[in-house]
């Protein structure tokens, strides 16, 4: 299907409109931009996890060749630059509020993680700034540090913040305890599990970058930044950090090379370059080197999870009690506090009709990089815990691992869970059946036998997961502590000759919005795809927006676009009625034409657009000229994608190497606009999920040094790690948005990790291995086999 086809673009696997600029090297990422008279910033970062800054001497750096300015935390404080805010306030069990320590853009007194920023050098060239930054002399008084959840909660642990005793940020709960206690009393069996959801580093391939530019003539500040949500950055930077009103601050997020959550947040460097550009009156550019990304991009996951499941003799789930401890890092990043709570605790029912669920979450500070949302954000943690626990329950009851799942599936909708959410629709049997068929489940025993013949172990793992996307509505999240609304905005401008510009508050950094949204609009207006341009990423062009995260762009942002186009169509009807000399109620709009019902009298959409801008014959008393509409869409509920993932692994018992042999994902992501893009999103999510399960882990040593601080030590998944993925969809449409879409960006990363580990354990169980933690590296697997063998002897 080409760009000039009309009709039924929705649902077609159209190759992306935006591809060409990336294919020929003309994409424009932040680091590709250069502003006239630009300077370069290099940040001095703490080598210590925790230390008092005793003194700092910047004189040699300031005198170095090419240096324009050197600033420290003192300058930030003197200028009253505000603390970088956290966007979600959690209320403790006892009704008090979470501990919310300050987060200065440059630290003046005490550093709290390796990579914490203490000074910035601004010079004519990057090389000069880099050379000068080494000349800053800082005297540190190193203090004991805590890096892991376990160390942070230990008796007498060093405190990251004096105001947070026990290093506790908050102590939160959800659901009711009494019914859970009751369920445990009556249980046939109680299945317990303790897991660590490993800390990972997002590693979008484009390192973060930012350019601040001050225009003295207009008193305007501009920030070019690698962001998933430029308007949110404008709000946080303007209102909270710099005290600049929105109309004086423009935030542009041009082409962005992947985000995965890590580019949602407002970072210190963004504040530094904008603030400094005003101070020196010249643009300031900063680009992270990868080693800086490792110690300054927000990390993901890092939660210790304990759970107890009460089950009946026949495998029916009776009650679930979850106790998690989440690592927040040294400071509260933008959405950090919502991740283990409202994005994870609310998911603990999963696809199962467990009647009583009670979730307790404690969050702790550590001397590490802040932890925040990473592809899935809270939902992978919940899913991993549930699906490991369900497998364990089946094993302990001697039940089939699929049977126990089916036994407990939710089958009637809407379904109110005991943990706040109401699922609108789903069909978990259908996705499971599809997954098993795609996995050639029937012939698995033959494949296992064949592996064993070659001296290899083979295992199969399942995960029947559910997630919640498009977090909303604003009134609800506001009541829960969110400091922003979670609607989306769109503006649709029809040009006089009938082509259309669509302005969306979401941001595409790989998701293909320029194509998917164009398909939606083109179909709605009966246009060809080349007549529709999607614009995003510039707060001066787009009225407002909340950005792209939580798989929300289509279900929330797309719905706002549909609403705006509805308004265009409605206004067009009034104009058409006038031109066709008919009653407005008799006008129908279909396939790009306004027709008087029951006649062949019609006007093409382009003619109506032209009339709107050249209103010579026009219902000027009733309708204003022009054809441009905006809409805000605030969803009534979350959406609930769900599905079944099946993974087969082969293990080399001599080395412990796990080879992923088969990956199947059958998902219900709601109505699909572009299956090519949806499949691509699935593939990427699966790779990240398998990466977390088998390869990736951010490791801190006891002193708080990051041991996995480069690609030499942090294992990124490569092409050779995967087979071809088998993905499929079974659609149940979301009932409460006009598109029927649910969201697809995160499902792979959410669903697949437990399927991988369940497969590894399935392979190792005959040897006596009962547990393995992510990532299941070769050495860990080999050691588990050795330990089991020595126990067996």
């Amino acid at each position: 299907m080409s760009e000039s086809t009309t009709g039924r673009l929705v649902g077609a696997p159209i190759a992306r409109k935006e591809d060409r600029r990336f294919l020929v090297g003309t994409g424009r990422y932040t680091d590709d931009l250069n502003r006239p008279k630009q300077t370069h910033a290099v940040i001095l970062r703490s080598p210590h996890a925790c230390a008092k800054i005793v003194s700092m001497d910047t004189s040699a750096a300031a005198a170095a060749p090419g240096v324009v300015a050197v600033y420290t935390g003192k300058d930030i404080a003197d200028d009253k630059v505000g603390s970088i805010p956290c966007g979600w306030q959690i209320t403790n069990k006892d009704g008090s509020k979470m501990v919310e320590p300050p987060h200065p853009a440059l630290v003046a007194d005490e550093v709290r993680h390796v990579g914490d920023q203490v000074a910035v050098v601004i010079a004519e060239t990057k090389a000069q700034a880099k050379a000068a930054v080494n000349l800053i002399e800082v005297e540190y008084d190193p203090l004991p540090a805590v890096a892991t959840v376990r160390d942070a909660v230990a008796e007498g642990a060093p405190l990251v913040w004096a105001e947070a005793p026990g290093n506790t940020c908050f102590d939160w709960h959800l659901g009711e305890k009494a019914p859970v206690d009751e369920a445990f009393k009556n249980a046939h069996k109680i299945v317990e599990i303790e897991l660590v959801n490993n800390r990972v580093i997002p590693n979008a391939m484009e390192p973060r970058a930012a350019i601040g530019e001050y225009d003295a003539a207009t008193d305007m500040l501009t920030l070019y930044t690698t962001s998933q949500n430029p308007h949110l950055i404008r709000l946080l930077l303007g209102a909270f950090v710099l005290g600049v009103p929105e109309h004086r601050l423009r935030v542009v997020a041009p082409d962005v090379g992947g985000g995965f959550g890590s580019k949602i947040f407002h970072y210190a460097e963004e504040a530094i370059v904008v603030w400094a550009s005003r101070k020196i009156g010249r643009p300031v550019k900063w680009t992270a080197e990868r080693s800086e990304s490792f110690m300054s991009d927000a990390h993901g996951r890092d939660t210790v999870m304990r759970a107890k499941l009460a089950v009946d003799k026949d495998g029916t789930f009776l009650g679930l009690h979850v106790q998690n401890t989440a690592n927040m890092g040294a400071y509260l990043s933008t959405f950090a506090t919502s991740v283990p709570t409202y994005l994870s605790g609310t998911l603990m029912a999963g696809v199962y009709k467990t009647p009583a669920v009670y979730v307790e979450v404690r969050a702790v500070f550590t001397h590490t990089v802040p932890v925040d949302a990473y592809r899935g954000a809270g939902r992978p943690e919940a899913t991993y815990m549930l699906e490991r626990l369900v497998d364990k329950a089946a094993v302990e009851l001697g039940m089939d691992r699929l049977e126990i799942r089916k036994k407990n599936f939710i089958r009637t909708f809407p379904y109110q869970t005991p943990v706040a959410l109401e699922y609108d629709t789903g069909d978990y049997d259908a996705t499971l059946a599809m997954a098993l068929e795609k996995a050639d489940h029937e012939n698995y025993p033959a494949r296992k036998a064949e592996s064993e013949k070659r001296g290899k172990l083979r295992g199969i793992g399942y995960s029947t997961y559910l997630e919640a996307c498009g977090i909303a509505p604003s009134a609800l999240v506001g009541a829960l502590g969110c400091r922003a609304g979670l609607y989306e905005a769109a503006s649709v401008r029809v040009h006089p000759t009938g082509s259309v510009s669509v302005f969306t508050g979401t941001h595409s950094h790989g998701q293909g919005h320029e194509t998917t949204f164009a398909q939606l609009v083109a179909d709605q207006l009966g246009l060809t795809l080349d007549k529709v341009e999607v614009v995003h990423g510039d707060s001066d062009k787009i009225p407002f927006g909340m950005g792209t995260y939580g798989s929300r762009s289509l279900s929330v942002g797309g719905s706002a676009i549909v609403k705006a186009v509805d308004k265009i169509v409605a206004k067009g009807k009034k104009i058409a009625a006038h031109l066709l000399e008919a009653a407005e109620s008799d006008i129908e709009f279909k396939d790009g034409k306004y027709t008087v019902a029951g006649t062949d009298k019609s006007k093409a959409f382009a003619e109506i657009a032209f009339a709107a801008y050249v209103p010579h014959s026009y219902p000027i008393d009733k309708v204003e000229p022009g054809l441009e509409e905006s809409a805000f869409y605030d969803p009534k509920n979350f959406t609930f994608p769900a599905g079944s993932h099946v993974v087969e692994v082969e293990i080399d018992p001599d080395t412990g190497v796990v080879t992923v042999e088969n990956v199947v994902a059958a998902d219900d992501v709601g109505v699909i606009i572009n299956p090519l893009i949806v499949d691509g999103q699935m593939h990427g999510g699966l790779a990240q999920g398998i990466g977390q399960a088998l390869y990736e882990e951010a490791v801190y040593d006891e002193s708080g040094q990051l041991m996995s601080g480069s690609y030499m030590t942090y294992s990124m998944p490569r092409a050779a790690d995967f087979p071809m993925f088998k993905v499929g969809n079974h659609v149940t449409a979301c009932t409460h948005n006009p598109i029927g879409a649910k969201g697809v960006g995160e499902v792979g990363a959410i669903g697949v990790p437990p399927a991988v580990i369940n497969a590894v354990l399935d392979a190792l169980r005959p040897l006596g291995v009962t547990d393995i933690q992510m990532p299941a590296t070769p050495e860990k697997v080999w050691r588990a086999i050795q330990d089991a063998r020595s126990k067996a002897q």
Partner: protein, 157 residues
């Protein structure tokens, strides 16, 4: 400063560079060819892969002065006369790119593979791409694109 002359995308280029200038810095900062990206500082991610005298190299791990007298091809020079190279077309048709950041290096690496191995197996493609990291696609559609390009090029020759 050292004077160097080379051909970049078939055009002669002369430049005065500091000897420590990396080839990727020459391309991005001196010549404005920003299609070549920098994604790491340990020579692993492959976002900076270009061709020097017809073979793929990491331009972040080569000095600009070492390219003196060489023929360099970057992603900007792959399409000829506005017509996409078959590998670029294959990436487009098979959705082998999402954010686009790794794409130039990925494509130039894949083009080098097909020069050496006209009909690689899926395994050989995956193996060859070890030095190119992609975080978006799970490599699935990249591998598909390379295999499809190999198939079509084979038919054409």
């Amino acid at each position: 400063m050292t004077a160097i002359s080379l051909k970049v995308n078939q055009k002669p280029v002369s430049a005065e560079v500091e000897p420590r200038t990396l080839l990727v810095e020459l391309l991005r900062e001196h010549l404005g060819l920003t299609g070549t990206h920098v994604g790491c500082d340990t020579s692993q991610c492959g976002a900076c892969v270009i061709h020097v005298d017809g073979v793929s190299v990491k331009s972040c791990t080569m000095l600009a002065v070492e390219a003196d007298g060489c023929e360099v091809t970057t992603i900007e020079g792959l399409a000829q006369g506005g017509e996409l190279h078959p590998m670029q077309k294959a990436f487009h048709e098979h959705h082998g790119l999402q954010c686009g950041f790794c794409t130039p290096g990925m494509i130039l690496s894949a083009v080098d593979l097909l020069k050496r191995n006209r009909k690689p197996s899926e395994h050989e493609v995956r193996d060859w791409l070890e030095g190119n990291i992609c975080r978006c696609t799970g490599y699935h559609n990249i591998v598909k694109a390379v295999l499809s390009c190999a198939e079509q090029t084979k038919e054409a020759t």
